[in-house]
Amino acid sequence: MSAVGKRKTSGSWKLQRAVLGTTWYVVSVVVAVLMVGPFLWMVSTAFSLPRDALSYPPKFIPSQLYLGNFEAAISEAPLLRSMANSAFVAIAVIGLNLLVSSLAAYAFSRLRFPGRDRLFVLYLSAMMIPFQVTLVPVYLEVAALDWVDSYKAIIIPAGVSVWNIFLLRQFFMTIPLDYEDAARIDGAGRLGFYWRVLLPLSRPALVTVSLFTFMGSWNSFLWPLIVLSTPEKFLVQQGLQYWRSERYDIVSQLMAATTISIIPILIVFIFAQRNLIEGIVLTGIKG
């Protein structure tokens, strides 16, 4: 391969690069506007006076930053309470799920026991059972256990996630087996190894799994909808939808409430964005 064909006068080459670069930026910005646009519109409506929000033609930038919608959303809707509820549930789910999943992943990836591989295939097959099949029977189970309208019904079934087990297993398999022998020489048993070696070494994977579990829990809608009936106990998504059905015509307040509900996820996103994006890659590609 010779470089002769590629040689151009530096001038025209630079120009071509500049044009391509600018085009790229323009296109990327347009796409970014399309992606973020709806959110910007949401925020714009949230800061508008209720009657201004309903004006036509719509005002893109509100004449003043009106905070009344946010006040209404906080005081008249159980918004903050529902967010606190969701936070509680999410943390509980993460705690339980990480513990259960990491133990199982440890066993599947590094311990030999009879029937292990077949059991793993069984676990994978659980992912194929769609949620609508188990909706009614799990509800009946939960009712029989008297967990209806209680967070137990949400947290405990969420304690197991085959997806998380699968991901953590992939990661655990990358840690050399010798580490266990080394730990044993130092006097640690299986649990000691798990707690003091395996988990600390797996922090990136655990963080990723926690983030996704948090997102899943915070954004969950259908199951809490079925299980919870007391408005004070509602989780954030359900609370939002419930309040919307009562405040259909006050769009600006609805948009304010929606904006507030997104803030926690936004914060998590800003801090963990690299981790989240890499996590998606982990789920889609062979680890």
């Binding site: 048993g189 997102m215 954004n219």
Partner: protein
């Protein structure tokens, strides 16, 4: 510290079962919590659901009537069910192709070193992390026929205003557009990872041979992306067949049942009309449809797992 207790347990287990078996015992012990939860909340309910689907029951009375396969017969002969299945299929037929092409273009845009690329990537990812409910509420405001932003923009461009979610012919398409918008970011990230796995030499060699960018895309990019594309398409179909939140929040299955999807229908029948037998029968019919695609997916999953 609890080490003392564990050391003694370990010693006891080793004494009782021998070194090798001790590993096995710990393995089973660690599996136990997840196994119990899976059995209780996934497998057992799945079988229980089969039993329920053979009953005529209202979830309350202690003595339900056994009716055999009658629920299934009613489902298969119900016009409303077929309409729901048709709606769901329309959703899938729209959301999956768009949900592949759009992210592919985005990923193609985001490849290569450019300043600020990571920022753009993060921005494109934003809709994905937002909850379906929040997205639906924002978009229902955008789609509002009289006051919404979309119709305003259309009228500015001199185009006719649309009914969007209130128009039976357009409602499902509106939901599809929203869904593609929300899902584009995560699919893009997946595809980006796949694209970065294709060696640059391939493209260089093709350029030397005189192939245009379009041809390169067709003959290099797409074939090498096949595994990921297959994964995205099949998971997209499976997920699309189960869509619930968008129609529930946006249209409540309307207008005139145009957006009533199968899972929404199941939900209504189980928890409003209190006919769990009918609902679970329906869920199994849908399951059969999903299973067909899942079996296609199984080869992918088996390919992914590595047994140590």
């Amino acid at each position: 510290m609890a080490t003392g207790l564990f050391a003694r347990t370990r010693g006891a287990l080793r004494g009782a079962f021998g070194q090798q078996h001790e590993e096995g015992v710990w393995g089973i012990l660690f599996i136990l919590p997840s196994l119990v939860l899976l059995l209780s909340f996934v497998f057992l309910p799945a079988f229980y659901a089969i039993y329920i689907s053979l009953l005529d029951w209202d979830m309350i009375s202690p003595s339900p009537t056994y009716v055999g396969l009658q629920n299934y017969r009613e489902v298969v002969s119900s016009a409303r069910f077929w309409r729901a299945l048709g709606n769901t299929t329309s959703y899938v037929a729209g959301a999956v192709p768009l949900g592949v092409v759009v992210p592919l273009l985005l990923a193609w845009l985001m490849t290569g070193k450019r300043k600020g690329r990571d920022t753009f990537r993060a921005i494109y990812f934003l809709p994905t992390i937002t909850s379906a409910v929040a997205v639906a509420l924002v978009w229902s405001w955008l789609y509002q026929p009289q006051l919404g932003l979309f119709n305003f923009l259309l009228s500015k461009l001199g185009l006719p205003r649309q009914g969007w979610l209130t128009d039976p012919n357009l409602a499902m398409a509106s939901i599809v557009i929203m869904a593609v918008w929300q899902g584009a970011g995560s699919t893009m990230v997946l595809l980006l990872a796949g694209l970065s796995g294709i060696p640059a030499d391939y493209y260089e060699a093709a350029t030397i041979d005189g192939a245009s960018r379009a041809r390169q895309m067709r003959h290099i990019t797409v074939p090498l992306l096949r595994p990921i594309l297959t994964f995205v398409i099949i998971t997209g179909i499976i997920g699309g067949l189960q869509v619930f939140t968008a129609p529930y929040v946006l249209t409540q299955g309307g207008p005139m049942g145009a957006t009533e999807t199968v899972v929404y229908y199941i939900y209504n029948f189980a928890f409003y009309y209190r006919k769990p037998g009918y609902a679970t029968a329906m869920s199994y019919v849908l399951f059969a449809v999903i299973l067909a695609f899942t079996l296609l997916q199984r080869r992918q999953i088996l390919h992914f797992t590595q047994f140590a």
